[in-house]
Assembly symmetry: C2
Homo-oligomer: 342 residues x 2
């Protein structure tokens, strides 16, 4: 018998071979679907109908010490980040988070001050965005696990899902990309930079911000046809919207952060690579109805943010980068557990 | 300097020294409290007001491979149990669970069939109690982590909290105790028994049932003044209700399962020890207004369950076992992560 096959003829794939996204597909295929789900399985959040208009919005995601917490990140920052990364998913749907629960896995040798630091970080992450931590549980685990679940309510019609992008819509983002990827290069690879730049890039890794104000403003503007957060990278976000909306994109301008251009030059790296495929960033990636662009832009600016147009939605299921007359394909890769190395 | 103290004079306590319950207290003390919480922090579930009458009910708890999954438990059973243990908390408050989210930590060497088995177990656990798994996320972790969060809605007035027990109320439980503890003795210690009994006792460990029907019926009867599930053991449940309601108990009859009496006799163990302090059981422990006892009993029997009176609530903050004229104190111990050995 082929040693790479099981007795049933399945390939002998481990979770590393399969990868996070395929694992989610495998799990989903074995779940009985709840009738009348207001949000399709696989969107940034899940939801349940409360009445004719209102939905309960739910999200859970965990932070794992070994893979998600670089050495220089404090426990306070790790706990705060665990909350913020869930809030970013709410932001991308335009939903105000109300309450968070935490399920904590703690190694046996964690000290009282470590636990206090985690508690303060959880509280800070929630309060920064107007939510409260209202409950949870702890268990013993061999690695630090901070699993957050988030709850909020929303009008069903105001949810910005992944599946509404239409050809001709404007592709836009709420900020510049590549700082987290550059920060991770500093931490994990042999990159270097000036002390000032180092602080900015590590700050992007350790103190991420969720674009909640922007997401709420965009939802309120009713100008957005599709939305996702960029936690798995800009390229991946485009492929996800493309898949769920059955469209493609032409990107005319990659929103690379200035700091990333300088960092990339100094270290002989490709700034587009850092901005497109880095991940661990929490900008919103949205498509906007062209006639409502001004409303969308004004809504975001009114809350102190910015909305950068970077391309167009196309009928063709292509993912094209078209900058300075040079075309290249935007690949379907980005940050992925089991496949990305930390 | 004392080597057991830190520079701040704190004792050098690890999470093992502190224990799960104290850890939760430490965390809670660092969280800003949400105003108007309908359920006190530390009850079996958390909740948020939806409107004047309705609340959203939330719960999260994780199952950890190393500490919560004995060797003979299949992944299907482990995944199902992760859901059921959360549903038991809903049952104890009288709340129908609607939707579950799963945050999964998978070791790198898990195979596709392992993932499928987990997915089927999650689905089975939810569907068995009328809920659906509607979303989640996966991460890489060094140990299997199944973190479930559960959502439902309820009328605030129908929630059975831990804090309403009154002196004179009847103490009652929904079944007999000690089977899980005996099963764990079989698996982890050098105990033995007949094949038939072995199957029953291991079944209690691997295929726990949540008393959801009973909990819903009791809530509907409006006869219950306080309620908790017994996942940390009967003794611990009594101490928790006692603390939250500021009452004590006299237990006149410990509901030891017949199988546990036989198992204990064969292995020279104390059956009361197994029934009181074992934990990992999912019966409901409730206090019932004496004038409404008949209604409570009838409600549970109408759904095929049983309600066993085992004692009385007292004004004295004592926890007394008073059987056959012999009195002993019911200690505040039970199943606790970081302190219990698996």
């Amino acid at each position: 018998m082929d040693k790479d096959k099981t007795e049933k003829g399945y390939p002998r794939e481990t979770s590393t071979d399969i990868g996070e996204r395929k694992i989610i597909d495998i799990i989903a295929s074995h779940l009985e679907a709840m009738p009348n789900l207001p949000v399709p399985f696989g969107d940034d959040v899940a939801a349940v109908n409360l009445d004719q208009k209102q939905v309960a919005v739910l999200k859970t995601d965990m932070l794992v010490g070994k893979t998600d917490v670089p050495r220089n990140m404090s426990l306070w920052q790790a706990a705060r980040k665990a909350v913020v990364m869930n809030i970013s998913d709410f932001a991308s749907k335009g939903v105000q988070p109300i309450a968070a629960l935490v399920s904590l896995g703690l190694p046996r040798d964690f000290m009282r001050k470590d636990i206090e630091e985690i508690a303060r970080g959880l509280n800070a992450g929630a309060r920064e965005y107007g939510a409260y931590v209202i409950g949870g549980d702890t268990s013993e685990a061999s690695d630090l696990i901070i699993s957050i679940s988030l709850f909020g309510t929303a009008k069903r019609a105001a949810l910005m899902l992944r599946n509404g992008a239409k050809p001709g819509d404007v592709l836009a983002v709420t900020g510049f990309f590549g700082k987290s990827a550059s920060g991770l290069c500093l931490l994990l690879d042999n990159c270097s930079t000036s002390p000032n730049l180092r602080e900015v890039l590590l700050g992007a890794v350790c103190m991420p911000k969720a674009r909640l104000k922007e997401g709420l403003a965009l939802s309120h503007s009713r100008a957005v046809s599709a939305s996702i957060d960029s936690s798995d990278g800009l390229a991946w976000s485009l492929h996800e919207i493309g898949k769920m909306s059955n469209v493609g994109f032409v990107v005319n301008s990659v929103p690379v952060a200035d700091e990333v251009r300088r960092f990339a030059e100094f270290n002989h790296l490709d700034p587009l690579e850092l901005a497109l495929y880095g991940g661990e960033e929490y900008e919103l990636v949205v498509t906007v109805k062209p006639k409502r662009w001004v409303d969308a832009e004004a809504a975001v600016e009114a809350v102190g943010g910015c909305l950068l147009p970077i391309g167009k939605v196309t009928r063709d299921r292509q993912m094209l980068l078209d900058v300075d007359g040079k075309k290249r394909v935007i690949e379907a890769r980005g940050w992925e557990h089991f496949k990305s190395k930390v």
